[in-house]
């Protein structure tokens, strides 16, 4: 009999407010390893705030966030930085790559920060896998939206994370590119053994991730 899959994400009774306004009120969910989850919600329901909480960039007012069994609240700032570096790859809608570095150097830096070393064969393999080999030495400003998002996926995966958190990864893309990116995310997550959590208002993604949850505006 197979051992039960470990819990990658555990959010319990989460409350978060900014300037007295409640952004997230009493949110709970969990993800086992390999259980990809789509968090759907309109603008302003707190998707980005939730990602900040999941990655330890923000601290909840109430409730708890655990990543790979470690409670964020119990860790100091440096500990949260370390947990994020070891476990999580993050993809944003527009914040994709370091502007002064080439695609390849972005991946090198991300891998160095995540693992402490650089493995060029792994980097080249990922660049090849996301289909931007011909743009590997280009600067971010020289890339199209779709190319940049594919490079960002490669960057998020290069540190071999157990969790990939994506904030609106396809919202700025046309249907064709949105499909490419969605499939790529799923394929690469499967390939790398990572669990995927996507927060978006982009309903097109429901076609690729059947396991979804809708976020409601906090009361």
């Amino acid at each position: 009999m197979d051992a039960p899959a470990p819990t990658v994400t555990a959010v319990a009774n989460l409350h978060y407010a900014i300037g007295g306004r409640t952004i997230i009120g009493d949110l709970s969910f969990a993800q086992k390893a390999g259980e990809h989850l789509l968090l759907l919600g309109a603008s302003g329901v707190g998707k980005t705030s939730l990602i900040n909480l999941l990655t330890g960039l923000a601290t909840p007012d109430k409730g708890s966030v655990s990543i790979c069994g470690e409670d964020m609240a119990s860790l100091p700032g440096a500990g949260r930085d370390d947990l994020r570096r070891r476990t999580t790859g993050i993809i944003f809608q527009t914040l994709r790559l370091i502007s002064a570095l080439s695609v390849r150097d972005n991946l090198r830096l991300a891998q160095l920060l995540a693992t402490g070393s650089v493995d060029d064969s792994k980097i080249n393999g990922l660049i090849d896998a996301v289909g931007i080999t011909h743009r590997a030495d280009a600067r971010p400003r020289q890339l199209s939206q779709g190319e940049a998002q594919r490079a960002a996926i490669a960057r998020a995966l290069v540190g071999k994370p157990r969790l990939i958190v994506a904030d609106e990864p396809t919202s700025a893309l046309d249907d064709h590119n949105a499909e490419i990116v969605a499939k790529l995310l799923l394929d690469r997550a499967e390939e790398e053994g990572a669990t995927l959590l996507i927060a978006t208002h982009d309903q097109r993604l429901k076609a690729y991730l059947p396991n979804s949850m809708t976020l409601q505006k906090a009361a």
Binding site: T48, I51, L57, A58, I90, F92, L95, I98, S99, A100
Partner: protein, 429 residues
């Protein structure tokens, strides 16, 4: 993170280059200033060492010092050669070295003097003989290098003290190079040393052969040439008050060393009491000279620091302008696992790298300019500038420029350090 800093600098090459050039110019200006003023000060001090008083014709005491010790100005005139004996008989005087000037060879001054002058500057032979018989010349190291003079070679002096001056040459009185001197790092390197009678002979001045030519050689200056008329424009025009218009056994100046402290009191007053003569104290005149120079040097130093601070300001503005774009990169770096400290360091390293490159450029530029100037300007050659001598103060200048670079980056780094990451991420979402 250093590679990331380099990547940011390369990402805006023109701004980076401009900042490096600004700091390079500042560093170069300050290095040129330090090098020139230090070497000038050392040279002034070295050339005047062992000389307590200079005696010469009335006029500007500074001019007398410049022409007699540093060989860079026209003499104030001539004084009777008898003054030498007058001073040598004074019990407070330890040494009197006469100088007879008026001619040059390819711009290098011919100085009629005595062997004690060479001893004063520790001059020794590189080749040949240390002879100063009439018609024989010892060549300074720089003179030999520039003119290519060799032992046994004959040459004729020209009227005047610099190349291009004077009306003609002493073609009837060629001198023979009998010795070439080793470099001394003093004024001697740029001089052609002959005996005082050799100068007198060139200018048709009769003198006491027995006294000046101890080897008993017979000399006659009456056959075939007459220097009296051609010499007048050089020597007599320099004489004061028109009192010494006849060709007499004159000297241009006397370098005097006291035997005791009484000399400093009695000898100047004795000389200044003589008509047409003055006594100038090198220590006083060089202090005056350095104070005149000091005003100019202070102004250049201020300009150098002003350029340095402009460079610092340019780095500050460049980093501040880049902050908006950098905020997003900072957020991404933090998300990728970089610590706040390492990001803070990245900004500081950027400022430091710009300043370091500026400092390197400045050192190369500063010494390069000195080398080029010393190679092309006869005036600077006379000062004996060495472009490859490094002064400890240069380390302080480099340190200050690096400090400016760090300081310029500090405020943008602190601002970035305090940025609320979640707000940037919210804006980017």
């Amino acid at each position: 993170m250093v590679r990331l800093s380099i990547a940011y600098l390369r990402d805006r090459p023109f701004t980076t280059l401009l900042n490096i050039i600004l700091l390079g110019l500042a560093t170069a200006t300050l290095i040129i200033l330090v090098t020139v003023s230090t070497q000038l000060g050392t040279r002034i001090e070295k050339d005047a060492r062992g000389i307590d008083l200079v005696v010469g014709a009335k006029g500007s005491p500074l001019q007398l010092i410049l022409s007699s010790i540093y060989q860079v100005d026209a003499p104030t005139g001539n004084i009777p050669a008898g003054t030498v004996d007058l001073l040598r008989r004074n019990p407070s005087v330890a040494q009197v070295i006469p100088l007879a000037l008026g001619d040059n060879f390819r711009g290098f001054r011919i100085v009629g003097t005595e062997p004690a002058y060479l001893d004063l500057y520790g001059a020794t032979l590189a080749s040949g003989k240390m002879n100063m018989k009439e018609g024989e010349a010892l060549i300074g190291a720089d003179v030999a290098r520039v003119t290519g003079a060799t032992l046994g070679q004959q040459f004729v002096g020209s009227h005047g003290l610099g190349s291009g001056e004077g009306a003609g040459q002493h073609e009837h009185d060629p001198m023979t190079t009998v010795g070439i001197l080793k470099p001394t790092g003093t004024v001697v390197d740029r001089l052609i040393i002959v005996s005082v009678p050799t100068v007198w002979h060139m200018h048709g001045i009769e003198h006491d052969h027995d006294a000046e030519h101890k080897d008993g050689e017979a000399h006659s200056h009456e056959e075939g040439h007459d220097h009296a008329e051609e010499a007048k424009p050089d020597l007599n025009d320099l004489a004061t008050g028109g009192e010494r218009t006849e060709m007499q056994a004159d000297v241009t100046a006397l370098l005097v060393k006291y035997r005791n402290a009484m000399g400093a009191v009695s000898v100047p007053s004795l000389i200044n009491a003589q008509a047409g003569m003055q006594a100038a104290v090198p220590a006083i005149e060089t202090t005056r000279l350095l104070s005149f120079l000091g005003v100019g040097l202070d102004a250049i130093e201020m300009l150098g620091w002003l350029i340095a601070f402009t460079g610092g300001l340019a780095i500050f503005v460049a980093l501040l302008n880049a902050l908006d774009a950098r905020e997003k990169d900072l957020a991404l770096l933090r998300v990728m696992g970089a610590t706040k400290g390492s990001i803070f360091g990245t900004i500081l390293v950027e400022g430091l790298l710009t300043a370091a490159l500026g400092a390197i450029l400045g050192v190369l530029l500063g010494h390069g300019v000195i080398a080029a100037a010393a190679a092309t300007s006869p005036r600077l050659q006379e000062l004996g500038l060495n472009a490859f001598a490094f002064h400890p103060a240069e380390l302080a200048i480099i340190g200050a420029v690096l400090g400016i670079g760090i300081l310029a980056a500090l405020i943008p780094a602190i601002r970035l350090f305090r940025v609320d990451l979640t707000q940037i991420l919210a804006r980017a979402a």
